[in-house]
Point group: C2
Chain length 574, copies 2
Amino acid sequence: MGSFWICWCLAILINSSLGLSQNRHFYKWEVEYMYWSPDCVEGVVMAINGQFPGPTIRARAGDTLHIELTNKLHTEGVVIHWHGITQKGTPWADGTASISQCVINPGETFVYRFQVDRPGTYFYHGHYGMQRSAGLYGSLIVDVAKGEKEPFHYDGEFNLLLSDWWHSSVHEQGVGLYSKPFRWPGEPKSLLINGRGQYNCSLAAHYSTGSSTSQCKLTRAEQCAPQVLRVLPNKTYRIRVASATALSAFNLAIGNHKMVMVEADGNYVQPFAVDDMDIYSGESYSVLLTTNQAPSNNYWVSVSVRGREPRTPQGLAILNYLPTTASKLPESPPPVAPLWNNYTYSKLFTSKIVALMGSLPPPPTYYRRIVLLNTQNYINGFKKWAVNNISLLLPSTPYLGSIKYGLNGAFEQTSPPDDYPMDYDVMVQASNQNATYGSGVYMLKLNSTVDVILQNANALEKNMSEIHPWHLHGHDFWVLGYGEGKFTAKDDRSFNLKNPPLRNTAVIFPYGWTALRFVADNPGVWAFHCHIEPHLHMGMGAVFAEGVHLVGKIPSEALTCGLTAKMFLNNNNH
Amino acid sequence: MGSFWICWCLAILINSSLGLSQNRHFYKWEVEYMYWSPDCVEGVVMAINGQFPGPTIRARAGDTLHIELTNKLHTEGVVIHWHGITQKGTPWADGTASISQCVINPGETFVYRFQVDRPGTYFYHGHYGMQRSAGLYGSLIVDVAKGEKEPFHYDGEFNLLLSDWWHSSVHEQGVGLYSKPFRWPGEPKSLLINGRGQYNCSLAAHYSTGSSTSQCKLTRAEQCAPQVLRVLPNKTYRIRVASATALSAFNLAIGNHKMVMVEADGNYVQPFAVDDMDIYSGESYSVLLTTNQAPSNNYWVSVSVRGREPRTPQGLAILNYLPTTASKLPESPPPVAPLWNNYTYSKLFTSKIVALMGSLPPPPTYYRRIVLLNTQNYINGFKKWAVNNISLLLPSTPYLGSIKYGLNGAFEQTSPPDDYPMDYDVMVQASNQNATYGSGVYMLKLNSTVDVILQNANALEKNMSEIHPWHLHGHDFWVLGYGEGKFTAKDDRSFNLKNPPLRNTAVIFPYGWTALRFVADNPGVWAFHCHIEPHLHMGMGAVFAEGVHLVGKIPSEALTCGLTAKMFLNNNNH
């Protein structure tokens, strides 16, 4: 109780006396397509105000962002999700099509107004169709409130937003995913660091004699010229890393340098040193790097595919020790990533991430436990992903409005199951591979503690089970543990209830389970889904709702579609 | 007055006594993208119920169509325009985004319910962004009412829907058109007859020895196998032709056969024989063909580009005299079209089209004359088309709702000008090439007679003036005449007021003018625009409105966007 009292006092101070953290940031953004060469090959990207990636937002904890987003696309709607921001009190600003708001139609404007209440490394991205894959993303960095301090020191910082890139349009990719026979977009053509990669050449070709790829000849002016991190010797830098990938799991390393992990998804972690780090789509980290290597050299920052058999060259950036020229190539080739399917390595890394000492522990017990079996399935011969045999088919009326106004016809009123059949064998191909479409909602008791057990399984193909990074909107969750095979009640005993990390994204490893716990304390409707864009597009998600009756007045602009629009119109259109 | 009386009596008879023409046709359509090979090259097309082109609608004059259109696209809105149907009493069913209705959002359904009141050869197509170019089109054939007769005889009929096809997506094409520097999609890759063309091979390669294109080896099963018109000797066939092209003007010919023109845009014309016929985008015709040639042969139906320097091979279909096998190639090569820029030839053809003797002549005088200067321009360095120096920028709230409900903020309240500066020289490059965006409306007096003079001019480039086919929604117009250079008051004297053809589409020739007359007798808001899809997308259009206060209750579904939605929501969302 003491801690609540302190917080409350602080809030009073901030709001009425000092006004320290009451900054408002105004942005006017226009989303449109433009030609761009992210990887030296020209294509079409989704841009914000002519920038790709979109502009970086920088604010302090407690500040309010006010983003006027105008859709300048020709025929497509758009929304933007603020990944990692809990949207307390503003669930309509979560930017999820079919869930929090009606999409912004071409020519129209929606104002995202919300508070960034916690410092951390976040990002934003499209959350409609596959618009994230199309390049609609950017960084959102929240500094500690004025007068507050981070629990670690650094002299400077860098920000790396990671993504993967294809040469076919997301429109065509989407058609393939929804086709019978199914057509997979394939592995990415390039990996991008801050929107920059190289497809036709390699920055590191000269290390491998006889390589068929030519050495890149880039000035620094190209759209695909690599990011350069200019550092001074013997300093400590905070490197913020976030992954907006459509598909890929990454391993990031910086040649010759160790990194000290300090933040994950906007939450402090107990610092630990690593040579390289895994990062899955939807995750963000901060690492500290000390520039203690020979200053006459430069070093590679490398990003490699893990978790899927890599068919894409590493993404590279340059750690440039000043006053050495940035164009001097590092002496050694880029770091070699651990083998893509060395999951033991991946799990070891994940196990090291625990909450910073002194962090709030999770509630010791749960009120409700939901076990979500992840399977790949068919529906009428179309390939899908499903959760407890239900492939999420988003309704045309967003849940937030339809639940608030009791429009029961907007989605399936039956809740999806909290568990899957006891006799299901997660280690082998399912005997019945058929699933069904569903749009039901997990209605959570407000302020209750919910456990989610994500259960992985064998996919359609024999001996195949993939990594899925699951992301929860509106909340952080504690990651209580990971395990192999089928989760059983006795696995509770292995939970880390002492210092589990608080995060918004966590993976399930092949054939494994991951246990999450969160408090359903945020009135609204919240997506929970695999952050691999094609997987979500194929139905790999669920919808949670809590306390929607307590949600304030939803802005009209968020309701101008589907049954909410119809309701208001029919009441008045005489 | 007498004719009105008769019509009214007839209506009573039909409605209450005989019920002859009260058929209703119900359709459930789903629009989605699918893979298809229209020209033997696989790409993505817009399909209706898995068909490309969309299903052919066939009804009788007086019938009511009831088309439930569900949008199965992932992120794009959709509408369908029923080209040539006047939508008397149902202006909200005209299917024009930003004008008659809010677009149908993904997952939503809109019911197009309207009467087809006049027999003729029509078609339907997307009218949002460049979705027509993406393949969203199909035929709409209206037969005479039961018991009525066409004023000509035929033994059978065929239906040819013409289009042009690109291998780049319309999304990418659209980005290019809106880019600085401007990027033109270029000439089509293939010409399609009923959605079928050949890109990698030619049906007629074997006639030209040494041709670099190989002879097509197609069975009849391919999606790109040519259309075969199976005929019996010594019969008369009606061939319905409609052009849904995005860009191209066509010349159509049938080897060794003459054609007798009998219908244009759903109106009977005084029959005349031709060897070949021009057809511009948005136009439709019926020709009669007598199978009086050697029955042991087959013959080419050929479609060639005119009006632009052709870079696309002819589109071909086969007139197959039964019992000859369809696979027997015609003895002679396909007809050679008149030179693309022989406009004298084009004008001669156009001049032959006059109304069938006994047709209703136009009103002898006009109430208002609007002169529309067609120019190519720049706005902030972006290439545009403009009318009286205004490039149409469609608003996000459709006019029909915003005018009916007096939402003045929805579009520019100032009407665009009825004329252009007297001293403008249409024969040379403009001294000031800059235009402005506009969304104003030509408000027409209900039931008044309106003349529109379409005035062509030199485009941006020196010695360049293009053909533009202008299409009017909601009405037919009489084409009073065509002329060279700048229209002046004395050109009135050359008007054909005796038997001008009634049409919904008419071209302006390079550096020429075209005079149209229509009666503004259809309460609603109506697009009038160049039917070349990229030209409309670049602003080449105008908006007419008349008697909107008389428009009945607009279906709610047509109002769920922009300011109409906001109005209803703000009144009720407390």
